[in-house]
């Protein structure tokens, strides 16, 4: 396998509504920003890998076809990826594999969602005769899983509230974020309306417009740009069925298998020690302690302790800060959200994460999940090639 590195990163401003641009304008903006960051132009790109969450969100079916011109794909291969909410991560990994395989030397990858033009609740609630039509949405699906986590672990009830505050305080350091809440308090989160018990309004992600793009290049081209290359040290995807007898929905096997694969590739046996930070897909606050366990940062049942001790907080000087960018709880353009995690991990390693930079970060994890917590995509990036 060839070495591959991130040489350009481009994001848009994340907002409730980007009324100033169409979907094509949105993806073009992120792609242009990534090319500028890499010191490149459209002609320097050999292939384009694009991803987004279900087409029914915006009601634009196969949008990649009409986006070919906005992404400079004339005469180039273009490939669309879809793995529900994890698509931002899996799209980056498909792009990386185009380079790691030796098939292409430099590719552009971009993901997006324009939730202001979307009706996600409708798109996810199509009636099926073998199931009652309850319209409970994504929160309604995940809330019982969080309740079971709380029962199993005995986690204090304010663990979720703490994550909601911590990620918004992180997010206030990142000017790209949709939600800017520098004065948020535990009380404010606790007083916010209950949506799907135990999930409160402020423990949930927003609905955002936005796009994220990266340029990935092989070893020979990795040092051509103005920025230091960020080396992809490991990448993996896994999936499992939504429903099978005995499935552990709190600590899914596919997530454990996926991260074990990534750690093995990157030579990591103690993630809390060897990683400097992590960008992890946490759309509902309780998923931080759950994923701390699933990703091997804590023993089963102990993830909430790291959260409560401040280990994942930049502001509290934690040893393993999670979601320094503010995470999905601050901006959620669904299809792009996974790639933002991957890109923010790369920014940390490059040392250009601005106010939310972890001092001296050299190795970081990017993570995404999707569907009924059944699709996983992860990578580890580093300043070092091997």
């Amino acid at each position: 396998m060839q070495y591959a590195a991130v040489t350009g990163i481009g994001q848009t401003q994340y907002k409730a509504r980007r009324g100033d641009v169409s979907i094509a304008g949105l993806v073009h903006e992120a792609a242009r920003n990534a090319l500028d960051d890499a010191g490149l132009d459209w002609n320097d790109i050999e292939a384009v890998i694009i991803g987004k969450a279900p087409d029914m969100f915006e009601g634009v079916i196969m949008p990649e076809i009409y986006l070919a011109d906005a992404l400079g794909c004339d005469g180039k291969p273009m490939l669309r990826v879809h793995t529900a909410g994890s698509v931002g991560g899996s799209t980056a990994l498909v792009a990386a594999s185009h380079v790691q395989s030796g098939a292409f030397r430099r590719v552009l990858t971009v993901t997006f969602e324009k939730q202001s033009e979307s009706n996600a609740m409708w798109a996810l609630s199509n009636p099926q005769p073998f199931s009652p039509h309850l319209n409970a949405g994504a929160g309604g699906y995940f809330a019982p899983i969080m309740r079971e986590y709380i029962r199993r672990s005995g986690a204090p009830r304010d663990t979720g509230i703490k994550v909601a505050v911590k990620d918004r305080l992180h997010g206030a350091r990142n000017p790209l974020n949709h939600l800017q809440m520098p004065d948020i308090s535990m009380q404010e989160v606790e007083d916010s309306p209950m949506l799907w018990d135990p999930i409160r309004f402020l423990e949930s992600c927003p609905s955002s417009d936005g796009a994220c793009a990266m340029v990935i290049a092989d070893e020979g081209l990795a040092n051509d740009g103005p920025r230091p290359p960020v080396w992809i040290r490991g990448g993996a995807m896994r999936s499992e069925p939504t429903m099978y007898a005995g499935r552990d929905e709190v600590n899914p096997q596919a997530g454990r298998d996926c991260v074990a694969d990534v750690y093995a590739q990157a030579g990591i046996d103690n993630p809390r020690k060897q990683l400097d930070c992590a960008e992890v897909y946490v759309p509902f606050s309780w998923y931080e302690p759950m994923w701390l366990e699933n990703l091997g940062f804590a023993e089963e049942g102990e993830g909430w302790r790291l959260t409560m001790e401040g280990a994942t907080s930049l502001d509290e000087g934690g040893d393993i800060p999670w979601n320094c960018s503010g995470g999905v709880l601050c901006s959620n353009p669904i299809g792009a959200s996974g790639m933002i995690r991957f890109a923010e991990a790369a920014r940390q390693v490059r040392g250009d994460a601005g106010e939310h930079q972890v001092d001296g970060a050299r190795t970081a994890l990017g993570h995404a999940y999707g569907g009924g917590a059944q699709f996983y995509a992860m990578w580890v990036v580093s300043t070092d090639k091997s």
Binding site: R17, G19, D20, N126, P129, F130, P132, L134, W196, M243
Partner: protein
Amino acid sequence: MSEDAGEHITAIETPVYLKYNFTAGQATTRFLQQVRQGKLVGQRRPECDCGNVYVPARGSCAACGLPTTEEVELGDKATVQSFTIVWIPIPNNPIQPPYIVANLVPDGANISFIHLMSECDNDSVHIGQRVEAVWKPEEEWDYAMDNIRYFRPLDEPDVPIEMIGKVPLAGWEGEA
């Protein structure tokens, strides 16, 4: 070309209507035919070591991927595996919040499905609680899981955590 570019267009509502034909396939056809008769019927693969009973069956054992050929009639009783109290008002939803959406495992099955709970005090619903199906009047039965209006609590001892998903068709009376 006009000098005045006019108002910037940021949103024009363009509704999309979708009408699907649902082909049930063999396994779901059998399930829906039984539901129309007011019966919940699961399926399993007799050769499987796990012997897990799936409901509603989708035609294969999700663990091994092979066909579930044997039908197992289930009762109306079930156990709460987990649940949420939905407070969020959803447009066009006839159910008024707060309401309980629960993951329920019917006796004799090894997997949960999602359904509504009612006739209950929302604050006292709990994991391991026993419930039973309340069916709509027979004349309203169709090929739909909505034939069960909701599940309501039963006055039976809770199922211990480790037994949830393993309660036999004979039910749970609290004996160890």
